[in-house]
Symmetry: C2
DNA sequence: GCGGTTTCCTTCACGACCCGAACCAATTCG
DNA sequence: CGAATTGGTTCGGGTCGTGAAGGAAACCGC
């Protein structure tokens, strides 16, 4: 910091996992690129130290990457230059090398975000979700329209996105690019990646929305410096994602981890999946809503639907309405039970709660966290801390965009 | 099979994972060795095809491994020689290259098994567990005594074991070689691997007993040809292990997956861990026993303890005793709930039930499996099949020995 | 200002690893 | 017996990454 230099490129703060993935035999070229991206502005010497490789290799490969237009040397020193000796030259990802998009489909609205290769947001867009369950054509149309909006917002022309990541609820076969089942879709086993890829003119990567949220934490959020953590998402349903050894874990079959339908009660409450005792049937918004209708009887019930109803319930509970409060209290207790099960089965270093619908803070109040702690057996170690990330809108789309970033990176760095 | 040749070495059936581990950057030397061990008797051409490497590399590295005494060429053709062309030369692991031992410590009895490098059992030994919780000296003494027994049974001299694997209940830090907590030990955070290693004169690898059982399935059992499966163990408590991408998964903190203490009921039955609603509190033997005392009132209750009591309960249930039957029925239903949760969270290709104490078949009857299926959401795919492996005695010790085998292999093949 | 020191980066020769192509070897088929 | 077929080996070469040596750019003390 011994001199101030105006940067020609905006200084990226870095994105992507900050720690190297365990057991990943990635080529050194890519490892170097990812290290630079993770750090934002990193010198060659730092790269060599971080990856434990010789400076010679770093020089050779960075000049290669610079020549290929993936990295660049920036003015100004790296974060903490030593006071003596030759000052380091900061390397950074060349942001303009490519642009990617992330789409997030949900039952309410779809959001999209455009990123440069440094992970900086170039623009955002949002549209209401098409009503009802969709056929393939409807999905394609809506996705193309949203991407066109995004292109305008981010000043990216058509065909301007090198890759598009898509996150949607349901059972998504990520490697196969197919959606085994989704509440948004009419058809089972839809090869959506191919369909959208043809329509959008760019390779499309699919992922379950909870997994996309997990990627968002890993790439841009609270998980960047944690190697092992779980993300629990509260949206229309309940989902979760797991990062182990700094990489996203996908279930054996490539499908997501269906936390919402794990059973927390024999012969319990009825879930929309038709079974009884699912966690969702106690904590999801539709579960709260059906109890709200009972609790708020006598109020202007007929007029309140969906989110309105829940907001009213929430207000009543805060105001001390006993029935309303008991609804949230029970939901919170089941939430604690579920979180303790996650901690016991996955042993994460931390648990992150994420989702747009986390405004009902009784689901993650101090009492809930405290109850979770009580439910954990004493392992001699502190229980995993629980962090709340009630990020707004585009975060999940950014997670989907991370898929695209990863894909472009792999293609570019062999 | 066109000619019969007497083998100088016993023909090994092969051991170890039959499929290559995903994302494992193991050196080709080791990959070749492991491929040969997995297949038992494999030709160079088959190795090259299986690993998708050039025959040239296989030739070079196998001659290297043969010279080092790790592999050998055996007489007789490999399993299915083509009818035409030069007949293949079968390669096999040289069984005598080293011997390893596996120890399994439990609350009742300790078992041990000696293996050669081909995974063949050279001998077994068993001793009653030392009573009560042990200090470090007691563990060392008992382990050394059992290993001496094993040496005699397997005709292996002292210092004859190249490595020793140990499986024990509790929270085991495998990479660190420490036991964070175990019901068998007095002390927390005991660096047992170092202590035993010094005493036994060989490198010692520790693992949670359920994880060892999972390794046993992966190396010798039903998991050899499955890349993704879960193992649920029913012993004094309930444990589980998970194989993903053909390798054992360890929790974020390196500790096991505490299935037995996941909560299946808010404010449920009291568990020995002090919490309420743990799965163990419904299905473990001590949980059954305490209900048995109630159910069998009027019988010769005073005389029946432990296993006797449960055997009587089991007999009564089979004979139609209503209270006895209801105990097992409830336990079975919670078992089904737990299995469905495992399937939902880990999405394994199959679930294997293992353990010496699985003689109470109501815990894994057809009704239980059927109930598990009903509890799973319809993913459009068949639910994971459940296999029962009520193997006797030394299997868990073999899983521990697999740890040692793996360690020796890694040391030998760089 | 000017060597000495420190840190960063580059150059260059080399070794480890694995591959492709060509070739030899051992068997069956016609 | 030659052709075909399959298994295994030899050999030159490419890629990747290293260690050692040295040049480059700053600071320090005189």
């Amino acid at each position: 910091m011994n001199r101030a230099v105006a940067l020609l490129e905006p200084a990226p703060a870095g994105c992507g996992p900050a720690l190297p993935a365990a057991g990943a035999p990635r080529p050194l070229r890519r490892a170097i690129y990812e290290t630079v991206r993770a750090g934002g502005r990193v010198s060659r010497a730092e790269v060599a130290k971080a990856l434990d490789v010789s400076p010679a290799s770093v020089t050779a490969l960075t000049s290669d990457l610079i020549a290929a237009g993936h990295l660049l040397e920036t003015e100004g020193p790296a974060p903490a230059p030593a006071r003596r000796g030759r000052p380091p030259v900061a390397l950074a990802v060349r942001p303009g090398a490519a642009r990617v998009a992330g789409l997030r489909m949900s039952d309410e609205s779809w959001s999209a975000v455009a990123l440069d290769m440094g992970g900086a947001v170039l623009g955002e867009a949002r549209r209401a979700a098409p009503p009802g369950r969709m056929d393939a054509d409807t999905v394609e149309e809506a996705a193309a329209a949203l991407l066109a909006d995004l292109g305008r917002a981010a000043r990216v022309g058509p065909e301007g996105f090198a890759s598009v990541g898509v996150g949607l609820p349901g059972m998504v076969d990520h490697p196969g690019g197919a959606v085994a089942w989704s509440p948004l879709l009419l058809r089972r086993d839809l090869p959506l990646a191919d369909l959208l890829g043809r329509r959008l003119g760019a390779p499309v990567l699919l992922e379950n929305d909870a997994q996309a949220a997990t990627l968002a934490e890993l790439w841009f959020g609270a998980g960047r410096f944690a190697a092992d953590f779980a993300v629990v998402t509260i949206e229309n349903g309940l989902g979760m994602g797991l990062v182990a050894g700094n990489r996203l874990t996908r279930g054996g079959g490539g499908l997501g981890l269906e936390l919402g339908h794990t059973k927390v009660q024999l012969d319990g409450a009825l879930c929309r999946c038709g079974r009884r005792g699912c966690l969702e049937a106690y904590v999801a918004d539709y579960a709260l809503a059906r109890e709200a209708e009972t609790a708020l009887v006598g109020g202007s019930r007929a007029g309140a639907v969906g989110a309105d109803l829940l907001d009213r319930l929430h207000a009543e509970a805060k105001a001390g309405h006993p029935a309303a409060a008991s609804i949230f209290r029970r939901a919170g207790r089941y939430m604690a039970l579920a979180l303790s099960n996650v901690a016991l089965l996955f042993d994460p270093a931390k648990i992150i709660l994420s989702g747009e619908r986390m405004r009902y803070d009784q689901l993650h109040s101090d009492e809930v966290i405290e109850e979770m702690r009580r439910l954990l057996i004493d392992s001699g170690r502190p229980p995993p801390p629980v962090e709340i990330h009630a990020w707004g809108g585009s975060v999940w789309a950014r997670g989907a965009a991370a898929l695209a970033l990863q894909h472009v990176t792999e293609a570019a760095t062999g």
